[in-house]
Amino acid sequence: MSSDEKHGAHAHAHHHEHGGTRGQRVWDAWRRWQGLALAAAVLVSTLWLAATGQLVLYIHPRYVVFTVAMALIGVVFVVAGLVAGRGATEGEQPRRLARAASLTGSVLAGALALALVIIPPATLTTATASQREINSTALGEVDESVTEAASVAGASASFTVLDWASLLRQTSDRAFYADKPAEVLGFITPDSDDPENSFYVSRFKVTCCAVDAQPVGVPVYLPDWQGEFSPDAWVEVTGTFDTNPSRGSAQPLALIPEEIVPVDQPEEPYLY
């Protein structure tokens, strides 16, 4: 195999495995401990998040078992790496410029690892919801089961904001919504077209992990809502859809609230 020639040709050029210069040894030790420390930070955080049921803030629930299993294997390897694995060398010590770049990288990675360990976990906020524009992409084809369920009396009570948003995209016939009371839960995102009188009850829809989260929401009409509620607050809104009285909003229909109750953030804040 070609590896024989390749290895043979270069073998005697590398003796640093058993010593080398002082700088080389420091460099090797640095790479080794940095890798182990960063891995430990992620693995510990992952296991703690899983134990406290907060892993779903970052990834889709279907990955939780796999992630925990791999994290446990990782922890075993990290602990073993503390004892064994001393021969690990990271090739030659880089030149000055590359070393400076790598040091900057280390600082950034270290800062992110520190934030990972000390900052309390959180869901995505209205910053991302408005950045990604509510209902712009996550509503693909209308779910047939939703349309069917909508024809069954009383079924609408269990609809999520995603179901309602899909229906609203399909039809804006107010007669269709007249006998379908809604009860939806989500966080408040101001409607950028009419922030004084209108907001969205919104959720994020996640397909894989939080990075692909798509905001979905249902418009709610409530003049001067900012006096009572603030953006990012979690609420449960009951009401019925009707013609949107808002002049500025682009939405033809809006949820006219009968009651808005502040609630705690749900354990699974995202929809899937």
Binding site: G35, L38, M70, A71, G81, A84, G87, T207, V211
Partner: protein, 350 residues
């Protein structure tokens, strides 16, 4: 001592390894300090939410959440990739691999592109695995073929793409055939390089040259050594890649890209930019892009599904551990041209 002699000759010793020495004092101190470190990490992580730290501004908080979600989503796949790489390097006898592989270079590369069918690892896990293949004697161009083909030609990706698109508009077919073609063409191009070792980053080239059995002692010790080394290389890259992916998410408005979607050429360029920025794994990117299918032309979706699996911010950071920057630029340009060409063909045919 016998191991060292084998190293110099460049041959892998076929067991038994010399008897492991007892743990040295340094190892015991390392173990105690490390275990204390892990325990205190747990303690800090468990206690900080109680302290009532002031909450961050929304944008900073979302930057953290997005970056951390990429890290947490990728790390299990990275670990799986490292474990598979350990198996390939230290636990599978050489002759299994050499017997299974054909001698003709085209046939070898074609075979390598289907390795992903048996190793359904997401592309972040493929990098350590590809490094393992090179260390195990695969040529550099073969490892590239593997890296490019495996994220697309693997059962999980095929199932999710089929779930998302069925056989509509030729998207699935374009993805599978296109992925195979691109991987083999690029493998062929780089196989013509006169000095393949010069394609590798200096750190990785030195590693290859140092010979296979890294570290001393038995297989277990070498396996742990390999894990430690891969973590040392990949963890900083994963952190930086995720941080940049998070930053771009917070900074570049997505609707700018979406407005470009209906033009045959611009839709393709927009989709490549989107794939480059969001850095989703190939296993699930079909679901991610499905909502765009109504506004974007099918060819641009195919381009997204061909370009995204291998070329994005996170992957380039990971690949830089193995290849030189010049090589990555060339791969990026080639993959971009080929996937855009296939996308254009789909746009005009369907």
């Amino acid at each position: 001592m016998s191991t060292r002699v084998y190293v110099e000759l460049g041959r892998r010793p076929d067991e038994p390894a010399p008897p492991p020495r007892g743990p040295s004092p340094a190892a015991i101190i390392g173990l105690v300090l490390g275990l204390l470190g892990i325990a205190s990490l747990f303690a800090i992580r468990a206690l900080t939410p109680e302290l009532g730290l002031p909450s961050l501004p929304n944008t900073a908080q979302d930057l953290l959440t997005l970056s951390i979600s990429v890290i947490i989503e990728s790390l299990p796949f990275v670990i799986l990739g490292v474990v598979l790489s350990i198996v390939v390097q230290h636990w599978i006898p050489d002759r299994w691999i050499s017997r299974a592989m054909p001698r003709n270079p085209w046939a070898r590369r074609a075979m390598v592109s289907f390795l992903g069918m048996f190793l359904p690892v997401c592309e972040c896990g493929n990098v350590p695995l590809a490094r393992g293949l090179v260390l195990r004697g695969f040529s550099v161009s073969e490892s590239m073929t593997f890296l490019l083909a495996a994220p697309i030609l693997n059962p999980v990706t095929i199932i999710t793409t089929h779930q998302a698109f069925g056989f509509d508009d030729g998207i699935l077919v374009a993805r599978l055939l296109g992925g195979f073609l691109i991987a083999n063409l690029i493998g062929w191009v780089f196989s013509k390089h006169p000095a393949p070792e010069s394609l590798l980053s200096s750190g990785f080239a030195a590693e290859c040259a140092a010979g296979e059995p890294h570290g001393r002692g038995g297989r277990w010790n070498r396996s742990v050594t390999l894990f430690v080394r891969e973590m040392g290389v990949i963890m900083p890259a994963l952190f930086i890649g995720s941080l940049i992916a998070g930053l771009v998410q917070v900074a570049v408005p997505r609707d700018v890209l979406v407005t470009l979607g209906s033009n045959p050429l611009w839709s393709i360029l927009a989709m490549m930019a989107l794939a480059f920025i969001i850095s989703v794994c190939s296993n699930v990117d079909a679901f991610f892009i499905l909502p765009f299918a109504s506004t974007f032309m099918p060819g641009s979706i195919a381009t997204f599904l061909l370009f995204g699996p291998i070329i994005d911010i996170k992957m380039l950071a990971l690949l830089r551990t193995t290849f030189t920057t010049a090589v990555l630029v060339r791969i990026t340009v080639l993959v971009a041209l080929l996937s855009a060409g296939i996308g254009l063909a789909v746009n005009y045919v369907f």
